[in-house]
């Protein structure tokens, strides 16, 4: 763990609770040494609707418990009553900031069970959509890391640029946040006339934004002071806690589904995910900042390499009466937060037997965050949470 040379202090730990034989802290709230406070569910530093039950001593956290359930919509239960195609309008809502991974996973899961191969054009269009989705999510979350420490300007720049990408989504799919563009067999349509030119115009602005964000946030002395050495994750926690995506890459462990289990057209694209071994908030911010630049580059590669015409959807049975063959499958894709997987079971009927989402936040925001926050300062909670990019809707489904 690297030390922050700008910020040295030795906390007084004489008042700390002692740990029992089972490792559990002996916290007596009646001793008046400790205070229990709630961080969230309505708090600007909380990513979405979740809360943390904190036991603090002074401003240092002794114990943290994650509470979710504020956004439980019971989607997985609802699928017992939905036909396969009826699942799409709700499945995209499993993760609000990045909905396309959901529709991709469900489509590809159904296709794998039914033995459907999608046309090449659909492959490229899906890759394009997933990268656009990644870019818009990163445009929101990368500057938000500065926002957690009071640097709000980058957030406003990012939101504007994200809106431009959402404009492209709107003209391609008709929806800004939830697209339902990928469906079993392929996608719903081809690119509109002049789409590539308009997207390229937006990407030029993102290039400029990335440079400015570096000057504003990554080179900022206060940002460095607050984030270097904070929120450290040792590399041996990666498998122990099921850490994926950029959080694992920040700890020096290569995890990127696009490279590990290449899907769609990613094996035809030239890119290298950024790695680091510093594993603190700053390292994870730099990785995601680089991911944003990589995503822009990938979009340009996709637009240059994709075919200009062709079939975009393979024939499927009538979706209203489609009985997907019996079987089970686990499908995965890389979201901005890491491996995003669906476990799908079909009993051969018109309705799914089980669709289970395994999102990165399921471990990042619960077991990992609870562990990371012990001995952290309460002023760093928001920064640590955003550095894990936790997303409560995918925990609750």
């Amino acid at each position: 763990m690297r030390k922050n040379n700008l910020f040295h202090w030795t906390p007084d730990r004489s008042a700390f609770p002692t740990a029992g034989a089972d490792g559990k802290l002996d916290i007596d709230l009646d001793s008046h040494k400790f205070v229990k406070i709630w961080h969230g569910p309505n708090h600007p530093g909380v990513t979405g609707n979740m809360s943390l039950e904190l036991t603090i001593s002074g401003d240092e956290i002794m114990e943290s418990k994650t509470h979710v359930g504020y956004l439980h919509r019971g989607f997985e239960k609802l699928y017992e009553r939905r036909t396969w195609i009826q699942c799409f309008p709700t499945v995209v809502r499993m993760c609000v900031p990045e909905s396309d991974s959901n529709e991709y996973n469900l489509s590809v899961g159904i296709e794998e069970l039914a033995g459907i191969e999608i046309p090449e054009m659909a492959t490229w269009l899906r890759t394009l959509t997933l990268e656009m989705s990644r870019l818009q999510a990163l445009l929101r979350i990368v500057p938000a890391q500065g926002g957690t420490l009071g640097l709000g300007l980058g957030v406003q720049w990012g939101v504007y640029l994200r809106d431009l990408i959402l404009d492209r989504f709107e003209e391609l799919t008709g929806g800004r946040i939830y697209h339902m563009y990928m469906i079993p067999g392929g996608v719903r349509g081809l690119l509109p006339e002049g789409f590539k030119d308009r997207l390229e115009e937006n990407l030029k602005l993102v290039d400029e934004f990335a440079k400015n964000l570096k000057r504003l946030m990554l080179d900022n002395a206060v940002f460095k002071k607050r984030t270097i050495g904070t929120g450290y994750i040792p590399a041996d926690w990666v498998n122990k806690y099921g850490i994926v995506g950029f959080v694992a890459r920040g700890a020096g462990v290569m995890k990127d589904v696009r490279k590990d289990y290449p899907y769609l057209a990613y094996d035809q694209l030239d890119f290298e995910p950024t790695m680091s071994t510093d594993s603190d908030i700053y390292a994870r911010t730099v990785i995601r900042w680089n991911d944003m630049i990589t995503s822009v580059d990938l979009l340009r590669q996709i637009m240059a390499k994709m075919p200009t015409k062709g079939e975009f959807r393979a024939p499927t049975p009538n979706v209203l009466h489609w009985e997907v063959p019996k079987g089970e499958v686990y499908v995965r894709s890389e979201s901005t937060r890491g491996e995003y997987g669906f476990y799908i079971v079909s009993d051969g009927s018109k309705y799914p037997r089980r669709i289970n989402l395994r999102g990165p936040s399921y471990t990042h925001a619960v077991s990992l965050l609870e562990k990371m926050l012990v001995n952290a300062n309460i002023s760093d909670i928001a920064a640590i949470m955003v550095s894990l990019q936790t997303c409560p809707p995918e925990i609750e489904r």
Binding site: N239, R358, Y362
Partner: protein, 177 residues
């Protein structure tokens, strides 16, 4: 992958092997062997990454299917370990000692399916639901439609209007039909 399945077969009895794709297999084992098979895969066969633990309700057979999904991050292989347990008083051995995040999955299964994992940390604490006094909602006999009708409708004082008629009355009250 075939050699790994054969290795497991020499030590445990596997009732069913399903090949989903070249790097993804599902195996069915007995309840008493399930956690041991998972431990064996983790420690000996290098399936160090625990992806998920979930349940599928086969109400017609009176069974829950538990699936432990593991992956080998070096050779890029996935294996799903299935086991079937009785629905009545469903209990399963805990695997929380193998990975830290396993306890969260077990806590959710206790709440949503009513499957107990004795010894698993905080397994009795509510995860998503607070103050829930009905049967575990992910069990298939739990009827969401019936529950919502009983719980939310009809609400005292609630009236239902035809939208077209209502808006017409509101916006143009003096207009004759």
């Amino acid at each position: 992958m075939k050699d790994i399945i054969e290795n497991i077969q020499t030590k445990f009895s596997i009732s069913e092997v399903t090949k989903q794709r070249d790097n993804q297999y599902f195996i069915s084992v007995e309840k008493k062997d399930a956690v041991q098979v998972v431990t064996y895969l983790k420690d000996i066969e290098k399936f160090s990454n625990f992806i998920l633990l979930t349940a599928v309700d086969w109400i017609e057979k009176g069974q829950f299917q538990l699936t432990y999904l593991l992956s080998d991050p070096i050779n890029k292989l996935d294996i799903g370990v299935r086991t079937f347990i009785e629905r009545e008083n469903a209990t399963m051995d805990s695997a929380h000692h193998l990975w830290e995040h396993t306890a969260t999955f077990q806590r959710e299964l206790k709440e949503m399916f009513g499957i107990d994992f004795p010894g698993s940390p905080r397994v009795d604490e509510p995860f998503l639901l607070e103050g829930w006094d009905n049967i575990p909602p992910m069990r298939r006999e739990f009827d969401t439609k019936k529950y919502s009708e009983e719980t939310y409708f009809p609400r005292p004082g609630r009236t239902t209007n035809d939208p077209a008629e209502h808006m017409k009355k509101k916006l143009y009250p003096n207009e004759k039909k």
